[in-house]
Amino acid sequence: MINSPFPKIGFLLSILVLAAFALPAQAQESPYIVAYDHYLEEPGSLEVEYFSTFATQRNGNDFHAFWAEFEYGATAWWTTELYLDGQTTFNDSTIFTGFRWENRLRLLQQEHFINPVFYFEYEQINGADKIMKEVEGHDVESDHAVPNALARREHNHELEFKLLLSKTFKGWNVAENTLAAKNVTGGHPWEFGYALGASRPLALKASANRCSFCRENFIAGVEMYGALGDRHSFGLHDTSHYLAPVVAWNLPSGWTLRLSPGFGLNDNSHRFLLRWGVAREFSGFGATLGRLLGGRKQ
C-alpha cells in the first residue's frame, strides 16, 4: 500500500488546486532545517515546502533524499504538517519511503523568557527513509548503506515527541529541541536525540526600498543535531552528530529559499550533507477549504 504513488499524487493535486485559490503571503521564515523555534504558522495559512538532502556515504552509494511538506496554521497555537518522503540512492533506485504527520502546540499564550512548544508526530516510514529530519537513538551512517530493495522491507510506525524551547532576544533566536521517539512495531526501546540552533537576520531594521537583496531578507545561523542513544544505552556512544551553517532568503514575492551544508562530527556520521529547500506560503487556504466543506459564506 505504501508504495502506490497514486493516492499521494491525488492528494498533492488537491492541495495545489486549493492553494491556487489562496493568496501568496510573505512571512519571516527561520533558516533552520532540523531545529524548530517556537514560531508557528499563521492561522489559516498553508506553507508548501520542498527540501532535499544530498549525503555522501562511505561503504555505499551517495544519496539524495527529499520531502514535500504541507504546513497549515490551524489556529495561532496549533500548526499541523504532513510530510511525504522519498529518496534516490545513486546506482540503486528512487523510492517513496513514507509519510509523517506532525503537530506543534504552543503551550503559553504570551512571550516569556523561554517559550515552550509541544511537538508530536506519527510516522509511517520504511527502513529506506533517509531524509534525516531528526537523528535519534543509535542512527549511524552505515544504516544508510543497506540497498533500497532490502531496506524498504522494514516498515516502521513511530511516535515522536519533542519539547521545543526557543527565545528571541536582540534579533538573535536560540532554539533547543529535545526528542523522544518510539517505534511501536516490535519491542523497540525509546530513543532520544537533540537539536540546537542559533540565528539572526543580517539587518535588524528594515530598509525603505522594496528589494530582494536587502540584508533584512537574509537570516543566517547554525544548527547542531544528533542522537543520544536509547533507554538501554543512553549517551553519546554509537551515535552521530552534525554541525550545519544555515541561511534563509525570504523574498518579497513570498518565496523562501534555504541552504545548509552540514558536516559530520564523528566517525559514525556522514562526512558531508548538503540540504536545500524552497517554500511558499499561501494565506486564506483555511477559508477556502472551509467554504468548500460547507462553512460560513464570506
Binding site: Y39, A76, L204, R296
Partner: protein
C-alpha cells in the same frame, strides 16, 4: 504476538484515517472562531488594556526617524495586511487598526501587542520580527488617519 501487532497497526491506521475529518472539523470551527474576532467585534480592543504598565510606558525609539512610518507601511503590507486589510481598516479575520481604541493606545502598548500577539483570538506573536522592525510597524500604525465613518 502477531495478532497484537495486527491490532496495534489497525488502531494506528484507524486513527490516521480519522485525523483528516477531525482536522476538517477543527478548521470549520476555527473559521467561526476567527469571524468572532473580526472587524465588528469591539471586545477585541480590550486586549490593549492588558499591556503591563511598564510595557505601555515604553517610548518608540524610532519616533524621530522620518522614514520609520513609510518603512513600517512596507512591513505592514508584507506581514499584516492579509488579516487587517490593505489600509488597516480591518479584514475578514482581524479588526481595524484605525479604530479610536488603537489610535489612543500608547506606542508601548502596540509594541507589546505585536510582540505577544493575541493567541487565543487568532493573532500570532510577532517577536520573530526584530525589535526595530516592530517599532517601525508601530510608527506606521501611529501615522494612520482615523477610520472613515460608514454611512448611516
Amino acid at each position: 504476538m502477531t495478532e497484537i501487532k495486527a491490532k496495534t497497526t489497525a488502531r494506528i491506521l484507524m486513527i490516521t484515517a480519522a485525523l483528516p475529518f477531525v482536522l476538517a472539523g477543527h478548521i470549520l470551527s476555527a473559521q467561526k472562531e476567527n469571524s468572532a474576532s473580526a472587524t465588528k467585534d469591539n471586545s477585541v480592543y480590550a486586549e490593549l488594556a492588558k499591556a503591563p504598565k511598564k510595557a505601555a510606558a515604553r517610548r518608540n525609539p524610532l519616533e524621530r526617524d522620518p522614514d520609520a512610518a513609510s518603512v513600517g507601511r512596507k512591513l505592514f503590507e508584507r506581514h499584516c495586511a492579509e488579516c487587517h486589510g490593505e489600509d488597516a481598516e480591518g479584514g475578514r479575520k482581524a479588526p481595524s487598526l484605525r479604530a479610536e481604541e488603537v489610535r489612543q493606545a500608547t506606542p508601548g502598548t502596540l509594541f507589546w501587542i505585536l510582540t505577544n500577539g493575541v493567541v487565543r483570538r487568532g493573532m500570532p506573536v510577532w517577536s520573530k520580527l526584530p525589535e526595530p522592525q516592530r517599532w517601525q510597524l508601530v510608527s506606521y500604525l501611529k501615522s494612520l488617519p482615523p477610520a472613515e465613518k460608514s454611512p448611516q
